[in-house]
């Protein structure tokens, strides 16, 4: 039995764990890689990420996806109910592939004079992909009239897959276009809230002292004021003759006024915690400039937390816009947002046209998806905790 004498020939100063050599790939993994690894394990967050991306794609390609121009009206079809899209044609004796919807049969109630619609199985309105429809400019550059889906004959009977509004707008087209405003207002508002929050929170957390005290009072004030009445008040005070763009900007400013406080608190809290961290003291003792201490050592340490907090504040903005517009104090027609669409809903509409609630489903889906994503990001944000 020989003794392996060469086992301990490594000089004592070069002692390494011979048992558990860490995964070499993991060893050189940067923070971004680690966060992404953690996030990928989070199934709900990944689902949220996919849905969120889809929603933004919808917003970008709304013109193409929507069968109609969202502002086109067809008064003949006010409150027309959704049609079922048939994939298989079974109306004849044998069945056949083919996309079509059934046409409407209109009857007028002799007493109330209300128009009611019924699907007429005998009328087939053929539907095709990449159909020709109203002209639009893709990205404002390329003029085209190709839509993802639409009736094969643009001049024939219309197709309302999600029904029509009070004035005969195509609800589907309007929901798709509504994604533009509803999904972007969160981002624009966030950009403003972010700037305010990071600057004020950073000053407060890094420098402390008097600046901190003043900013803290300000944050406390904004947090103690009930947000919605304040929004309402501010939104109501907007001049009535402002155009859609002005209103849009004004509303984002109002939303960000409320939301920056959360971000400011996150930033401040992180700065305070980091100031006491040994590795920040070590960086200071390295003698490097303050700029670099903040930019290279402190900011990256909570950038992922910040991204998570930002993601989690988008849904609040979407909900706020929807509520404001619903109440008629936010955006107004002809601007199309989900909240504006929902403001069409009243008790009468609930009875006769419940599909007008569908933009609400879009809101819930968007908010859920972004919340899931944000939760996942928050959990994955610190990959160094064991």
């Amino acid at each position: 039995m020989s003794r392996p004498s060469d086992v301990d020939q490594v000089p004592p100063s070069a002692s390494e764990p011979r048992g558990g050599e860490p995964d070499a790939e993991l060893a050189v993994a940067s923070q971004r890689t680690l966060v992404w690894r953690a996030l990928r394990r989070h199934k709900l967050a990944m689902a949220g990420l996919v849905v969120t991306c889809l929603l933004y794609l919808v917003a970008i390609f709304a013109d193409f996806l929507a069968p109609y121009d969202p502002n086109d009206i067809n008064a003949d079809y006010a409150f027309a109910p959704p049609q079922q899209l048939h994939i298989v044609d079974t109306s004849g004796d044998e069945w056949d592939w083919g996309l079509y919807v059934n046409g409407y049969e209109q009857t007028r109630d002799p007493e109330t004079l209300a128009l009611t619609f019924r699907e007429d199985p005998s009328v087939k309105v053929p539907v095709e992909f990449l159909a020709r429809g109203p002209e639009y400019e893709l990205f404002g550059l390329i003029s085209t009239n190709i839509h993802l889906i639409g009736p094969a004959d643009p001049d024939g009977p219309p197709m309302y897959l999600l029904g029509a509004s009070r004035t005969g707008h195509d609800q589907l087209s309007r929901i798709l276009h509504g994604a533009r405003i509803s999904m972007s207002i969160g981002l624009v508002g966030l950009a403003m809230a972010f700037t305010l929050g990071v600057v004020l929170g950073g000053v407060s957390g890094y420098f402390g002292g008097k600046a901190d005290a003043v900013i803290q009072r300000l944050v406390e004030f904004f947090m103690s004021v009930p947000a919605i009445p304040l929004w309402l008040g501010l939104a109501a005070a907007l001049p009535r003759d402002w155009g859609p763009l002005q209103r849009y900007l004004a509303i984002t400013v109002i939303l960000s006024i409320i939301n920056w406080t959360d971000l400011a608190r996150v930033v401040r809290g992180r700065f305070l915690a980091l100031r006491g961290e040994d590795f920040v003291t070590a960086a200071y003792l390295d003698g490097i400039r303050q700029r670099r201490i903040i930019g290279r050592h402190m900011l990256p340490s909570f950038a992922s937390h910040l991204i998570a907090a930002m993601t989690l504040s988008i849904p609040a903005m979407i909900l706020a816009e929807t509520s404001l517009s619903f109440l008629g104090l936010g955006l107004r027609p002809p601007t199309i947002s989900w909240g504006v669409l929902l403001s069409d809903v009243d008790v009468r509409a609930l009875e006769t046209a419940p599909w007008l609630l569908l933009p609400g489903v879009a809101v819930v889906v968007a908010v859920l998806a972004i919340n899931f994503l944000g939760d996942g990001l928050r959990d994955a944000a610190d990959p160094y905790q064991s």
Binding site: R217, E220, F221, S224, V225, P226, A227, I228, P229, L230, W231, L232, G233, L234, A235, A236, A237, P239, P315, L319, T322, S323, F326, L327, G328, L329, L342, V345, V347, L350, E351, P354, L357, G360, V363, V364, V367, L368, N371, F372
Partner: protein, 331 residues
């Protein structure tokens, strides 16, 4: 403790002053002062406006003075004799209009807070103790949904359900028609109870969802604390251990609910009450905002903001009373 109370109350004053200034700014934001709007409105209705009356009002509210003076006049009017100004749309003193509706609003909100607690407490507790059970997943899902659905949408959805499932039921409103104008009696109270639950559910859902999430997260944190193991090692029975130790700490969010749920509730109340047409301050605020009846709107905003601040104060004091750590750190 006394120092803490005094200090906390003292800290509240600047916040109140700030709130009143912001409210005043909101009132002043729309072009023209309220008297010009008032005069325009009356003229539009073809009524004669007495210039002497206008001048008197102008003097009373100091509308020719610079803005800071106007602010002081306005705020002094509120503090000294509860004069919140006049609603030009209704041509009534604001204070009277608010007084009509405030009690019901407060009842509604208090009921909702209680409802939120009653629902959130057992669900949050169970969710944390049986983490990853079916119930936990259901509760978590409901929590997510509750936070994702805007109040008004839930109200609309409930109304739709009421219409389609229960027929033309009286979802909306707080009283049945026969009690609408009746004097208060037992029947009216019961009728109110019967109607209150729908708005309560609608308004309380977001808060309940948030509270469940917070309670669950806090409890899970506490359950892993060494003192829980230590108590278990002393042979403490499990249910008693749970209720006496982690629960006691995790209860803090319930107390602080008043602080953070109130702003949410007050905001939601405006929307929910409008959709469900309740006779609370919410719809009044909304209609006054729509018509830029700014004295009425501003006064309501001021009042609900003050209610929030006072609510936060109460919850902070309660928290200090309940949690010895806060009590001793701040004393």
């Amino acid at each position: 403790m006394l120092t803490f109370v005094v200090r906390r109350v003292a800290l509240m004053i600047p916040t109140l002053v700030m709130i009143s200034i912001v409210t005043f700014v909101i009132i002043q934001l729309p072009p023209g002062d309220f008297l010009t709007t008032y005069v325009t409105n009356l003229s539009a209705q073809g009524e004669q406006v007495d210039p002497a009356e206008v001048a008197a009002l102008r003097a009373r509210y100091g509308l020719d003075e610079p803005l800071p003076t106007q602010y002081l006049t306005w705020i002094w009017g509120i503090i000294s004799d509860g004069d919140f100004g006049r609603s030009f749309e209704w041509n009534r003193p604001v204070s009277g209009m608010i007084a009509d509706r405030l009690p019901l609003t407060i009842v509604f909100m208090a009921a909702t807070v209680v409802f939120t607690w009653i629902i959130a407490f057992p669900i949050g507790l169970y969710s944390a103790i049986r983490q990853y059970s079916i119930t936990d997943y259901v509760a978590t899902t409901i929590g997510f949904l509750g936070l994702a659905i805007p109040n008004f949408l839930l109200a609309l959805a409930l109304m739709w359900v009421g219409l389609n499932v229960f027929g033309q039921s009286s979802v909306g409103g707080l009283f049945s028609p026969e009690y609408q104008d009746a004097a208060w009696n037992l029947g009216k109270v019961l009728d109110l109870m019967g109607h209150l639950w729908v708005p309560m559910v609608v308004l309380g859902t977001a808060g309940t969802a948030g509270l469940i999430r917070i309670l669950r997260a806090n409890l899970l944190d506490e359950l892993r604390k060494p003192y829980v193991v230590a108590a278990r090692a002393r042979g403490m029975p499990e249910p008693r251990l749970l209720l006496r130790y982690p629960m006691r700490v995790a209860l803090n969010p319930f107390v602080s609910t008043i602080g953070w749920v109130l702003p949410v509730l007050i905001g939601g109340e405006v929307i929910v009450s409008s959709v469900l047409s309740l006779e609370t301050t919410g719809p009044l605020l909304l209609s006054s905002l729509r018509s830029q009846d700014m004295y009425l709107a501003g006064s309501i905003i001021l009042l609900v903001s003050v209610m929030t601040v006072v609510g936060t104060l109460i919850s902070d004091l309660l928290l200090a009373w309940l949690d010895p750590r806060i009590r001793h750190r701040l004393a």
